[in-house]
């Protein structure tokens, strides 16, 4: 933290105090602003706006003590230093009890003031370091981001705890957006492999050839464009965990190669002959009906059993509605921190809408909805109109026919998945052919 990063605010009704202190701190290179009364400060205060506030205790409209209280509510990390006359030292002591960092008496000793500011900055730095440290520890040993109090999620946490310390291969099943990768990370972080990396690979995001080189790496010149030898994800996961997401979309040829590497724990890079030995734990995830794929001959049965040793099923959000308020509030706090916004409450009406929504996109959809609401919403609370699907919801209660409602819903789900027919069909819980027919029937178009 350089001086130029430190934001100081001087709050005093006396112009001369504001000017002299501003002058004083500007020479030291701090970012200085000033305000003549407390209301001015509170108008648009948000966490992180100021690092240090020097507040006169005696101001006409709202006293420094009151201001201190309100500042601490909005931004507990802001360091408040009280300026007081000798006569009102007892109230300054009260201010210390209410969370002020320290106080100085008017006229202020320049030496004392410099020391005070230096200490305040030191304290601020220390606190920031501690927060960073705590955040990294939390991430390691708790199920960061995996929130839920419903019996369904408690069962998931229980399973994570049971399976994490063992080296068992795990398969995580659930709709997209339910947080399967978070669960894989929680398992990894609570396993003896946590000091090694967890390497995620989204199998659905690559063509067969690219996935092969992504997983196994390649030697120089293995194919056009392979100018250097490159390590594959499997090699990178050595000692740690390999997380294969959307494993159901792996091609038949790749299924054979995956099976081989799981059985032998060794492989060769694309275009190479050297045998590479690896030791990793495999966690896979899918939102597809693997059993059906096996029946249809699209997924190898032997690989299916290899992957499906221990299964964790993550229920969709609509099946655990009691988690909606918990999650929604968690995201509100998270975005308040990220956006440097005062924490908004979710109004009762908005919460009602959240509770009644079907959440085809699950936790991810909820997170996006809250993010949007935090952007457009105004303090003190998130209102129904701040939610992205508010209008659609209201409409469906009006005199629209059932078909009209279905048409709108399909349209919305399609655009949500950017017209990815498979994903939309899955979210709608119908097959692709049915979805195509409905698109034709309603004359839906990508816009």
């Amino acid at each position: 933290m350089n001086n130029s990063d430190v934001k100081i605010l001087i709050v005093d009704d006396e112009q001369i105090v504001r000017e002299s202190l501003t002058h004083w701190f500007e020479e030291d290179g701090y970012q200085v602003s000033s305000a003549a009364d407390a209301f001015d400060v509170l108008k648009d205060l948000h966490p992180g706006k100021y690092d240090i506030m020097l507040v006169d205790i005696k101001m006409p409209k709202m006293s420094g003590l009151e201001l201190l209280e309100k500042v601490k509510e909005i931004d507990p990390d802001c360091i408040v230093i009280i300026i007081t006359a000798y006569a009102s030292v007892p109230s300054a002591v009260q201010a210390l009890k209410n969370g002020a960092f320290d106080y100085v008496t008017k006229p202020i000793d320049p030496d004392e003031l410099s020391h005070l500011i230096k200490n305040a900055i030191k304290q601020k730095k220390l606190k920031e370091e501690n927060v960073a440290l705590k955040a990294s520890i939390d991430e390691m040993f708790s199920f960061e981001g995996l929130i839920g109090e419903s019996p369904e999620m408690k069962k998931v946490f229980e399973l994570i705890k049971i399976v994490a310390p063992q080296d068992t291969t795990v398969m995580i099943r659930g709709e997209s957006g339910t947080g399967k990768e978070l669960i894989a990370r929680a398992i990894h972080m609570n396993s003896p492999r946590r000091y090694y990396p967890i390497i995620p690979v989204n199998c659905g995001a690559f063509t067969e050839t690219l996935l092969e080189s992504e997983l196994f790496g390649h030697e120089k010149g293995a194919f056009t464009g392979a100018q250097y030898r490159r390590k594959g994800k499997i090699e990178m996961a050595n000692g740690g965990t390999l997380f294969l997401d959307e494993v159901g979309s792996v091609s038949q040829k790749m299924q054979v190669e995956l099976l081989r590497v799981l059985e032998t724990k060794q492989f060769t890079r694309v275009g190479g002959t050297e045998i590479v030995k690896v030791d990793f734990r495999l966690i896979s995830a899918t939102n597809e009906n693997l059993e059906r794929l096996v029946e249809e001959g699209k997924f190898r049965e032997d690989l299916y059993y290899r992957l499906n040793v221990f299964t964790i099923y993550v229920p969709p959000l609509r099946e655990r509605r009691s988690d909606i308020p918990v999650l929604a509030n968690y995201f509100v706090q998270k975005f308040a921190r990220q956006m440097n916004k005062p924490i908004l409450k979710i109004s009762d009406e908005a919460m009602e809408i959240l509770l009644n929504h079907s959440w085809p996109g699950n936790v991810r959809e909820l997170e996006n909805a809250i993010e949007r609401a935090m952007v457009v919403g105004k303090p003190p609370e998130i209102k129904p109109s701040d939610l992205p699907f508010h209008l659609e919801k209201v409409n469906s209660f009006e005199s629209d026919s059932l078909e009209e409602v279905e048409k709108k819903h399909i349209q919305r789900v399609l655009s949500k998945y950017d017209w990815n027919i498979s994903k939309a069909a899955q979210a709608l819980n119908i097959d692709r052919v049915t979805l195509y027919n409905k698109i034709k029937k309603y004359g839906l178009q990508k816009n």
Partner: protein, 174 residues
């Protein structure tokens, strides 16, 4: 060479004029004209505090000596701005005028025996520091640099009379 007004307000260390004017030449390339103004200092005096209001003195100097490139006031009086118990000096950041008080630079102020050498070195440091501000320099992190901030006399003693290379570079841009 630009000309500076060196205004003495009840400053009695006459034997030091040469050292001060030489310093202004050496560090700032300023020729100085010494002025002892005919001014009623009671207007700037606070009876309650028994100190002189430095900001008001700077305002006075700007009004009366605007023809000079820089205006440096030196006084034996103790200076204050209302917020602070005292100041060693004050300057207009990026401006024309600066004032330095010798009052708290004398070892005698702290109950120690007189020491002319120590006193003059402190005074030169404070002059360079405040004038530095008029050339747009802010406080410097380098504790040996004369632009390092000092709110007590020990901090003045630690730093040198000179500008560090970074500050010197900015000074030469003027």
């Amino acid at each position: 060479m630009d000309q500076a007004a060196l205004i003495l307000l009840n400053f009695n260390a006459v034997s030091l004029y040469d050292k001060i004017t030489n310093n202004l030449k050496q560090h700032f390339n300023l020729n100085s004209r010494t002025i002892i103004p005919d001014i009623d200092l009671r207007k700037f005096y606070s009876e309650e505090r028994d100190q002189y209001y430095s900001t008001k003195l700077i305002e006075y100097a700007l009004l009366n000596y605007s023809e000079f490139k820089k205006i440096l006031m030196i006084t034996d009086f103790d200076l204050y701005v209302p917020v602070l118990t005292f100041v060693f000096g004050e300057a207009q950041l990026n401006g024309k005028a600066a004032i330095v008080s010798a009052h708290r630079l004398y070892p005698e102020f702290y109950g120690l025996p007189p020491n002319d050498e120590l006193f003059i070195s402190r005074l030169i440091k404070e002059i360079n520091h405040e004038l530095g501000h008029t050339y747009g320099l802010r406080h410097c992190f380098n504790f040996e640099c004369v632009m390092h901030s000092s709110s007590n006399v020990d901090e003045i003693d630690i730093k040198s009379e000179n500008f560090c290379n970074k500050c010197l570079e900015k000074l030469n841009l003027f």
